[in-house]
Symmetry: C2
Subunit: 141 residues, 2 copies
DNA sequence: ATACTTGCAAAAGATTTGCCGCATG
DNA sequence: CATGCGGCAAATCTTTTGCAAGTAT
């Protein structure tokens, strides 16, 4: 059983054959395609139909939304007008996007997390969510 | 002449009657509607047609894109699936969005800017752009 | 059983574009 | 005057939804 399928069970998310396939594909994403993998809906639909060619894109959309609302996967909106997805991780991370290649690098930085909480507090707010994306070009050595 | 119209002139952006109106509306945005004003395309089209009712929404789209590519205004993509705009400012700022009301608070924080540059550098990149949005709910006293 | 899901196609919402007459520099 | 611009409607792209039939618990 895939990691995401297990999480569904734990959270009481109802499972169907289609959802199991999508869960499996999402679970394997980074193992199969590398840690930089953040597939969009079309890409996921392609991968999913390799397993079961009858799964419709509407179901992919509905299932991704369901998983996201359950906190099982995360949606990103990098500057391109479509959503990209990745499985949720225990440790929060942010992204750096290579403006030339589109490659996505993940990073963790405690200082920046704390700073954000502090800034929100100073403005009179409790931080409930945040989005940090760095866009960069590779340094020449 | 509006501030944005002046910037167009300085940058050699061709001006027309329609563009002048849109430039004026954008220039006045925060003065008229408060510092939290970040209008979307529909809202801008409404404001613009109060001055000249024949300006089409296609022209608003084309002009906003033109201004944005010239660095005269900035586009934001807060989590709602449509673009919001504000005039570019000398000093860079980020945004905190009230998750309950949608209100937008602007803030400047030097520490967080420096930290981002440092993180990018550590990953082997030059930072060319970034997006930081905090989502928060108002603290009760 | 019965409430939830799926596939399909149509709809919706935001944004872009082709065309052609018109304005700008 | 030549090139670029604006208005309109149609097209595009991503995402959502109504409906009838099928499925999970």
């Amino acid at each position: 059983m895939s990691i995401i399928e297990e999480k569904c069970k734990k959270k009481g998310v109802r499972l169907t054959e289609q959802r199991r396939v999508i869960a499996k594909i999402m679970s394997e994403s980074k193992l199969t395609f590398g840690s930089k993998d953040h597939p969009d809906v079309d890409e996921l639909h392609k991968r999913v139909t390799l397993v079961d060619k009858k799964i419709s894109i509407a179901t992919v959309y509905r299932t991704l939304k369901l998983f996201e609302e359950s906190g099982i996967i995360e949606r990103h909106d990098f500057k391109e007008g479509k959503s990209r997805y990745e499985p949720s991780t225990d440790e929060h991370h942010d992204h750096l996007i290579d403006v030339n290649t589109g490659e996505i690098i993940e990073f963790v930085d405690k200082d920046i997390e704390e700073l954000q909480i502090k800034i929100a507090k100073k403005l009179g707010y409790n931080l409930v969510d945040h989005k940090l994306e760095l866009y960069g070009s590779k340094k020449k050595k």
